[in-house]
Amino acid sequence: MNAPIFDPAPALYRPALDHLDWLEAEAIYILREVAGQCSNPALLFSGGKDSIVLLRLAEKAFRPGRFPFPLLHIDTGHNYPEVIDFRDARACELNERLIVRSVESSMARGTVRLKSADESRNRHQSVTLLEAIEEFGFDACIGGARRDEEKARAKERIFSFRDEFGGWDPKNQRPELWDLFNARVHKGENIRAFPISNWTELDVWQYIEREGLALPPIYFAHLRPVIRRGGLLQPVTELTPAHDGDMVEQLRVRFRTVGDSTCTAPVESDADTVGKIIAETATTTITERGATRLDDQASDAAMEQRKKEGYF
């Protein structure tokens, strides 16, 4: 009675699309749904690898037309200069509109108050993002978040509903069935759309390789002064200088994720090509956030808490 149900000959079920083709097609579909359903969306572009992938997907979705949305970056003012240069060059090359809003402006307005001068500005991006959403009247923001990044993201919808305070209520999310996405909102409410929800870190690197995408140089192995802190490498920069007693080492490192320089740590690596990074990613033993995010170490529920406050 336990006769084979699935034909064992794999040739018969040879899928027409390989896994990257499938993920790409799904992401293009999601981007076009945002364009078709929302009246004033924006795409969040930081110059990081996930948003670089988003831009390529947007090209595939909308060329030869212009993107039906501007690019938006919320700048903490603490980003690595190579990444900011890359961001500007890429937007210019694509001939698309780039809007930059900075946490420093929110600080000047008094809507962001730091507890201390050296507090990380990363979580305060939420305030500046919400201000930009209000300023431009965006009804949707497209972002490069992935469900494999963190526990709180595993249950995130592809079209995630945010109330007028930008808050994410995990108990009040819309059921998401088939590919029938519901982006309808009332004025002031907002959708966050995540076209690469179903991608893993490895998928992202494989896609970067397949598409030959350029990245900011700090993603590749380079020499950098760092201090070992609590199992992570803290880069020595103007913003994060060495203190007395710190042991500064020159190590060959690369960044797996780039964000605010006060909370993003590099990993030791010799991988100076995308191919070598893929090989390292496929055999790595530490998750992307675990290795690189100083802010998620705070508590097991750190990300969930930040998302409830409107964090991207």
Partner: protein
Amino acid sequence: MSAIESIPGFSGPTDNGLLRFLTCGSVDDGKSTLIGRLLYDTKAILADTLHAIATTSQRRGMEAVDLSLLTDGLQAEREQGITIDVAYRYFSTGRRKYIIADAPGHEQYTRNMVTAASTANLAIILIDARKGVLTQTRRHSYLAHLLGIPHLVVAVNKMDLVGYDRAIFERIRDEYLGFARQLGIGDVRFIPLSALNGDMLVDRGANLGWYEGPTLIEVLESAPVAHSENDERFRFPVQYVCRPQRAGDPLLHDYRGFMGRVESGSISVGDEVVVLPSERRSRIKGIQIGGRSLTHAVAEQSVTLLLEDEIDISRGDMIVRSGEEESALVTRRFEAMLCWLADSPLDLNRKYLIRQTTREARGLLDGIAYRLDINSLQQLPVGGIGMNDIARVAFKLAQPLVIDRYAENRATGAFIVIDESTNNTVGAGMIL
């Protein structure tokens, strides 16, 4: 060498696509342990995650690492010790990528299981070997069947707790088969396993020597992905129309690209097509993706279609193959199995928005045939339709939709119901 590499015939870098599957069962069936074990044995769990759950296991006084903690999600769920929402997990064997939709099994979470099942091509139904086929087993199987999942795998778990007894496995299998036939479930296979010890998931283990069938991972590796089995009719709902009209570029002046995803079937340059509901005809002049030209496009590919003739097409229109237009029904009324997802019950007098493919129409309930008791599968007289209810209904529509029967086409036979006052998705249905 990982266990995956040691499976015969699984060597080589061939990319065998992406399979979406669903796991149904309750905490007690060891579902979280099964998923944790799959992720762990396929090396999808990294050291820091493992360290975190090892610490938690220790703190809770457990001797071994509790793999079920891997699928623990949100703070509220951790506090209650249950899963209340669908979570998506990922792993890859190097040959194939997997997306697991992990749905809670309890009756009050029918809507979550329906959600998880909507995108799956295979379902793993968990049965506790000590308990056998339960009411919830029937419920899970019925919902998987209702949502059109073509392949079911019944995982008879906790075989370690029944002494790996073959007779117990066979008794459960026979009972399940009787019930599956009643429902009309075709494709089902059975695997005895112990998620706790890892027997018959990725490794065969040493305890189930009498079982000669494939391990769970072997079944997953060889299961057909969506759209790979039957010849299907071409369906292309238009998502977005691209008209660049860039001044100074005469090549783009007349460019009109119809963007969308091939939901089923395939199309080639030169094929004659019909646009529904307008019934205008044309021929495929070009197929593009990001400016690159293709001669042919297949199901699940997102492309841009260019037509020979200038005809008026907008979002929500459906492009089908000429000669097959009769197979797609353009209608202002349909019957469906409806699953209600919202706290507030269905209001018989209100108009709702029906979204199907990329099209929307206002709809009003035009009759309820019966409500289904998803435990007994009895048809009940209609009292009203509330959260988690499943009912056979009819809708009449203010604007026509282009539909197929769900049993024939999951993409064009599915719809959601939106409450315009809240904009929430309140129902989901399958057209009969």
